[in-house]
């Protein structure tokens, strides 16, 4: 094998690729050749590095130099400066805040420093399409250990003792679930990897499948051995073509290496997997619905019990786990339950990947040890709220979760700590909101999502979420009534208690938590007809401050509905009857003369 003195780990995840990472790669190869460096320095395409917002990104190894926002036209300069003259280029280094000094090393950047990588252990380190690189990083050694040294019972005990809980949202003990499927009678059993990832804003599963597909195959093979299955399904969200391509390539390579198929490692163990494309609805990710979809039926949840561990695919015992859950397995086997359970809190062990988005400076995927505070994630890793605005709340767990207000920012991350304050860890969404976000609108927005995704099988979710949405909408339109908060609370509690599946049962969470922590905002809308965050269009007016207006006419020219009148050098006035509250005037005004009032 060719030896290189330097590797350029170029991110080829979906985010960076859409920012033209492949053009950057071509430019690098061209420039390296020009300087006759092609035998010394090699560009390697890696999976998603998590810092998508700064893409395209690249890490130079050895040296750990982190480059961001690469631009094709700067590549010749970068190659010459850094790789010929040995002077790393500041222009593309990370700068925490305007005016601060650039941070050259990845390991010194706040975004990466507080992270702990287990599920994403191979992040940025391997080419996901090359099985040898996975194997080079201890790949398939856990499977070998399981097949040659352990009994299924020992594997289950190890996973149970590790304290790993399902990362798909439910948070059920993985080891216990494996135990149920193992103990279910029958010799035809199945294993499923849930890669449907329907939570808006969450993309850790896509990232794992795209950047480290073999970790899923190895985890599933171990799970199959533990429960006694010989076939597995990977159910991938239809919108993830790159994930499908990478996992198919991984399966093909693993088969060629004898890591899937008959008689794996000569032990007689037989296991193979097939890939299925998701049927498109959020509810397809719910396990019984997913299984119905695999069977070719309408993807609709059914009442549990019986649980899939007893009667799953084709009525046979089936174990289903989430992508991130599977990605933890090989590390637990290789390093032991004691190591894994030493990370985290009493009831939440290991790490969790969050997708940190919204009004935070550093957005992206972050893997953190359980027990870290929400504040550390948002302020140390996330670099705080954008544009110096004030933090208001963070929605965790996607539309099924709840919001966490400023006063609870020190809550440690964990299943039970989050549940205690009305939210959930869920699949790991974290949407940061600032002072400009109206919390009634936030609740309305999330409920609109779940309502639209309700399958309609059961009465409370189908009818109830629609009624709640109607009420929230009328509040944001300034038509709320005194009794609305009571109605919302009553409906939330009853929909939560009576829905068939967790989609309906958790749908009221955003409403419950926003009422709990921001009741004053609801009351301002209902009683005073005001939106304190000045977001609800029906309750705000745009006005021009006479003492600030210079009469530059910019706003009048840009207003799409001609709502602004005024002479050049004279004070301008907005006609509230005509104004559609698009906010363009405020955005274009150079003198900060446009004000929103509520």
């Amino acid at each position: 094998m060719q030896e290189y003195r330097m590797h350029l780990m170029l991110c080829a995840g979906t985010g960076c690729v859409s920012n033209r990472a492949f053009d950057i790669e071509k430019a690098f190869n061209r420039e390296l050749e020009k300087h006759n460096l092609q035998n010394e320095i090699k560009v390697i395409d890696t999976g998603c590095q998590g810092f998508c917002e700064r893409g395209p990104i690249m890490i130079v190894q050895p040296g750990d130099i982190f480059y961001e926002m690469l631009d094709e036209k700067d590549i010749p300069y970068l190659v010459e400066e850094h790789f010929l003259k040995g002077r790393p280029v500041e222009k593309h280094m990370y700068v925490p805040k305007d005016g601060e000094v650039p941070i050259p090393k990845l390991s010194d950047i706040g975004f990466f420093k507080k992270q702990k990588l287990i599920a994403l252990a191979n992040r940025g380190l391997i080419n996901p399409e090359n099985i040898d690189e996975y194997i080079g990083r201890e790949g398939y050694t856990a499977l070998a250990k399981v097949l040659t040294e352990m009994t299924p019972e020992e594997v289950i005990k190890e996973v149970k003792d590790s304290g790993l809980r399902g990362r798909g949202g439910g948070g059920f003990s993985t080891g216990m679930k494996w135990g149920f499927a193992h103990n279910s009678p029958g010799d035809e059993k199945y294993i499923i990897c849930n890669a449907d990832e329907g939570d808006p804003g969450a993309f850790m599963d896509r990232s794992i499948v795209e950047s480290d597909p073999h970790v899923i195959l190895e985890g599933m093979a171990i799970g199959a051995f533990a429960i006694g299955a010989s076939h597995g399904f990977i159910y991938v969200r239809d919108e993830y073509p790159l994930a499908v391509e990478r996992i198919n390539k991984a399966i093909k390579d693993a088969r060629e290496y004898g890591l899937l198929g008959d008689d794996i490692f000569g032990t007689g163990f037989e296991f193979d997997v097939s890939v299925n494309r998701g049927a498109g609805a959020f509810v397809c990710g719910e396990e019984t619905s997913l299984i119905a979809s695999l069977e070719g039926n309408m993807p609709e949840p059914r009442v549990r019990p019986p649980y899939p561990a007893v009667a799953g695919y084709k009525g046979k015992p089936t174990n289903i786990n989430n992508v991130e859950t599977w990605a933890n397995i090989r590390h637990i086997i290789n390093r032991g339950a004691a190591w894994y359970s030493s990370i985290g809190t009493e009831t939440s062990k290991g790490t969790k990947v969050f997708s940190l988005v919204g009004k935070v400076n550093n957005t992206g995927l972050v893997e953190v040890p359980m027990g870290i505070s929400v504040r550390d994630i948002i302020f140390d890793i996330g670099g705080g709220v954008m544009n110096g605005k004030k933090f208001k709340a963070v929605q965790t767990g996607g539309p099924s979760g709840g919001c966490i207000p400023e006063s609870l920012l020190d809550t440690p991350v964990g299943y039970d700590t989050f549940a205690a304050i009305g939210s959930i860890v869920g699949s790991g969404g974290m949407i940061v909101m600032d002072e400009d976000n109206c919390m009634v609108e936030v609740a309305r927005y999330f409920l609109a999502f779940t309502q639209a995704e309700s399958c309609g099988k059961c009465t409370p979710c189908r009818e109830g979420t629609r009624h709640m949405l109607d009420i929230l909408t009328r509040i944001t339109e300034g038509k709320g009534k005194e009794e609305d908060i009571d109605i919302l609370l009553e409906m939330s509690e009853l929909i939560g208690a009576t829905s068939l599946c967790a989609l309906g049962a958790t749908a009221p969470n955003p409403v419950l938590t926003t009422i709990k922590y921001f009741r004053d905002e609801y009351e301002a809308h209902i009683k005073e007809g005001k939106c304190p965050a000045k977001e609800c269009k029906a309750l705000i007016q745009y006005t021009i401050l006479p003492d600030k207006c210079t009469g530059c006419t910019l706003c009048a020219r840009d207003c799409p509905v001609n709502a602004i009148a005024g002479e050049r050098k004279g004070i301008h006035i907005i006609d509230p009857e005509v104004c559609v509250k698009c906010g363009i005037c405020k955005a274009v005004c150079n003198f900060d003369a446009v004000r929103i009032e509520s």
């Binding site: 399958c455 309609g456 009465t459 109830g464 629609r466 109605i487 409906m491 009576t498 068939l500």
Partner: protein, 202 residues
């Protein structure tokens, strides 16, 4: 022999049945809308919910649909707890709001004690009876009995659910005249709100 507690009484029963069947043997009536003893249980209407706890954890009550949940050793089941009644009233109020003209729903409301007078209703019930905008104009409550009847009795699959959420409806394939329909009338027979009718074709 299975021993469990039903509304405070110890029940011993030879075979495993659903809670609904077992309660019926004991002369306890649980309201249902989407269940029919000859068809596969559906668990969708949620009217038949009952409180279920275990001897080990008597305070950990969970609402379960009695049409699908089975009786089991050591279970403590309550078919008429305040929580159960409150839930049933809510479910029914939502269905009445959906299909105000369905007489059958009004008579179940009487049976389970959901009052029609605002003064005796909760905030949500009042909203559902008086204030909620009408969203669909149909007597179909999507219980799915017709769909299952057609699939399981004549085994024709002439009708099925289409779309999701509030847009969900029962339809024939491509909304055309269903070629597999043999006019047996099973669907109309099982419909709890008499939404499906049979016409004589000459």
């Amino acid at each position: 022999m299975i021993k469990y507690v039903l509304n405070g009484n110890i029940i011993e029963q030879e075979e495993t049945t659903t809670i609904l069947e077992s309660a019926s043997i004991q002369g306890i009536k649980i309201p249902t809308l989407c269940n029919n003893e000859h068809l596969t249980p559906f668990g969708g209407c949620r009217l038949c919910l009952v409180d279920v706890a275990t001897e080990k954890n008597p305070d950990m009550k969970k609402l379960m649909p009695s049409c699908t949940a089975k009786i089991g050793e050591g279970l403590i089941i309550d078919t008429h707890s305040p929580k159960v009644i409150q839930s049933r009233r809510f479910i029914l109020a939502m269905l009445i709001s959906r299909s105000p003209k369905a007489e059958e729903l009004r008579s179940i409301a009487k049976e389970i004690g959901l009052p029609e007078e605002s003064s005796k209703q909760t905030a949500a019930e009042k909203y559902l009876f008086n204030d909620a905008p009408s969203i669909v104009n149909t007597n179909c409550i999507l219980c799915g009995l017709c769909v299952r009847a057609c699939a399981e009795i004549p085994m024709r699959d002439a009708i099925s659910f289409s779309a999701r959420g509030m847009e969900r409806t029962v339809k024939t394939p491509f909304e055309k005249y269903a070629e597999t329909c043999i006019g047996c009338g099973s669907c109309a027979y099982v419909c709890p709100t008499n939404t499906i009718t049979i016409e004589e074709v000459v």
